[in-house]
Each structure stands twice: as structure tokens, then as C-alpha cells.
């Protein structure tokens, strides 16, 4: 799906790029505060502290990668016939996947090289893990919104249908299986907390979205 850019579209694009550029320092500061806090915590606990310089270098590299990805998502493209086009929804999806893969690989490489843990599972406790994951979640969240806004109405209907019937059915089956496991198992903690949390979060999210929809239609 392509779309021509009118004057309003170009103005919105500039605002989006500007907002992204302004948001980056906020993310950097938040990440550094988080890393500093966790470093101090690790020292107080007598644990091994990851070098702050390495963490900062990784963050700068990681944010540069995010910035590049955001520019690829938001940046204008000009086709052979001279018309300015935006990336299609599928291009956004593929670009996000590739950027996430590269970002995840770099983050894993960095964590593996700067820590002396014995297994990959322990990397989750490394100070740099939280800001890296938060950054990736932020990037994925923004990319999801961009992807959603570039879908046409039939594709949106397909997603709504899939979420209503597919996702709800999956949630129902998972709840039934967890209930069966809970009833038949002697271990009372058999996944019920996780299922209860997930179902509750889904219903709360549903209620909020339902309320917002009607509030905007008043």
C-alpha cells in the first residue's frame, strides 16, 4: 500500500521525526539512570559490577541503531515516477523484524562479552539487560503503531476479526487447560497465577479500549 504525501502529510512527517529525535535523549537519560541504579545496587550487594563505560557505549550504539530503524520507518521515499511514498505496512513489519533481530543480536553479543556469567539465562540479571529490553519494547511499540496506521481498512478488519475470534479462542483454550492442570495436579501453583494475570490484563485492556471507543464516539 502506498500513499501520496500532501502538504499536511509532510508536516506530520516532520513532527513525527522531530518527536522521535526529542524522545531519544529522554530514553538515553532514563536508561543511564536505570543502569547507574542497578550498578550501585550490584556494588552494595557485593556482586560484580559491569563497566559503566561499556554499558554507555552499548547504549549509544543501540540507540543509534534504533534511530536508524526509526528513520527507515518514518523517512520519506521517492519512487521512480517522482512521487514520495511511505514504506508499506509489510515493509514496516519486515524492517522492524530485521532491526529487532540485529538489535537483539548486538545486545546479546555485548552482554555476553562484558559479563562472566556461566549461562545465557543468567544474563537477565545483568545491569544492561533492563534498558536494552525496554528500548527494544519501545521500538517495537512505536513500530506496531506505524504498522497499524499504514494498513488499509480490509487488512484492519482482518486483524480485528483475528483478535476477536482467534486470540479469544486461544485465551479460552489456555484457561481451560490451566484449570484442568490446576484441578488434576497436587501442585497448586501449576501456572494458575500466570494465567490469571494474563486473563485479567486482557480483560482490563479490553474494558479500557471499549470505554475509549465509546467515549470518542459520544
Amino acid at each position: 500500500m502506498t500513499q501520496r504525501f500532501d502538504e499536511g502529510g509532510r508536516r506530520r512527517l516532520k513532527w513525527m521525526v522531530a518527536a522521535g529525535a526529542l524522545a531519544s535523549p529522554v530514553v538515553i537519560v532514563a536508561a543511564l539512570i536505570a543502569v547507574g541504579f542497578m550498578e550501585a545496587h550490584a556494588k552494595a550487594e557485593g556482586g560484580r559490577a559491569t563497566g559503566v563505560v561499556f554499558v554507555m557505549a552499548a547504549l549509544v550504539g543501540y540507540l543509534a541503531l534504533l534511530g536508524w530503524g526509526a528513520w527507515r520507518l518514518f523517512g520519506p521515499r521517492r519512487s521512480s515516477d517522482g512521487r514520495v511514498r511511505r514504506a508499506s505496512a509489510i515493509q514496516v513489519l519486515i524492517g522492524t523484524g530485521i532491526a529487532s533481530l540485529i538489535g537483539g543480536l548486538l545486545a546479546g553479543l555485548f552482554l555476553g562479552m562484558t559479563s562472566d556469567v556461566d549461562s545465557g539465562g543468567e544474563l537477565i540479571h545483568e545491569p544492561a539487560f533492563l534498558p536494552l529490553v525496554l528500548g527494544m519494547m519501545l521500538f517495537s511499540g512505536v513500530a506496531t503503531v506505524v504498522y497499524y496506521r499504514r494498513l488499509d481498512e480490509a487488512a484492519l478488519e482482518a486483524h480485528k476479526f483475528a483478535w476477536l475470534w482467534g486470540a479469544q479462542s486461544g485465551l479460552f483454550v489456555a484457561t481451560c487447560l490451566a484449570l484442568i492442570a490446576f484441578i488434576t495436579s497436587e501442585d497448586t501453583g501449576t501456572g494458575m497465577d500466570g494465567v490469571f494475570f494474563t486473563v485479567s490484563a486482557a480483560f482490563i485492556g479490553y474494558g479500557i479500549a471499549w470505554g475509549v471507543w465509546w467515549f470518542r464516539k459520544r
Binding site: 500500500m1 502506498t2 500513499q3 501520496r4 508499506s88 488499509d152 481498512e153 480490509a154 487488512a155 478488519e157
Partner: protein, 76 residues
Amino acid sequence: VVVPEALIRMKNRLKVLRAERDWSQADLADRLDVSRQTVNALETGKYDPSLPLAFKIARLFDSRIEDIFQDQGASS
């Protein structure tokens, strides 16, 4: 027999109008800012367009909406 509104299928002349102009589905999709898959779903009657998209289609073919789309209940 009262047919539920959701089950009423719309017929349309999109394919004919497109063929008259010698446009491919991709050409029409580009002019409507939708995907080619959406144009195909419209032409085969598997998907009914929203009112804004229906007006856009009507403007593109310089016709009225009811000249392009007809619900089967009205025609029978």
C-alpha cells in the same frame, strides 16, 4: 424469510469498470491507496468497503455509489 443484514452480499461492477480502463488490480489499488489484496476482495464481493472508500471508488470512476454497488436484497 428475513436475511440477517450481516449475511447480505453486495454485488459490484468494479471488475468491469477496471477492465474498461485497462487497469490492473495493482493500478486500481494504487489509485485507491489500498492493497491489491483488498481490491481483489472487493471485486469478488468478499469484502464490502466502508462508506469513505465507497465514495472514493465512486469519485474515481465518476459514478454514483449505487451505480457501482448493489445489494442483492434490493435487486431480487
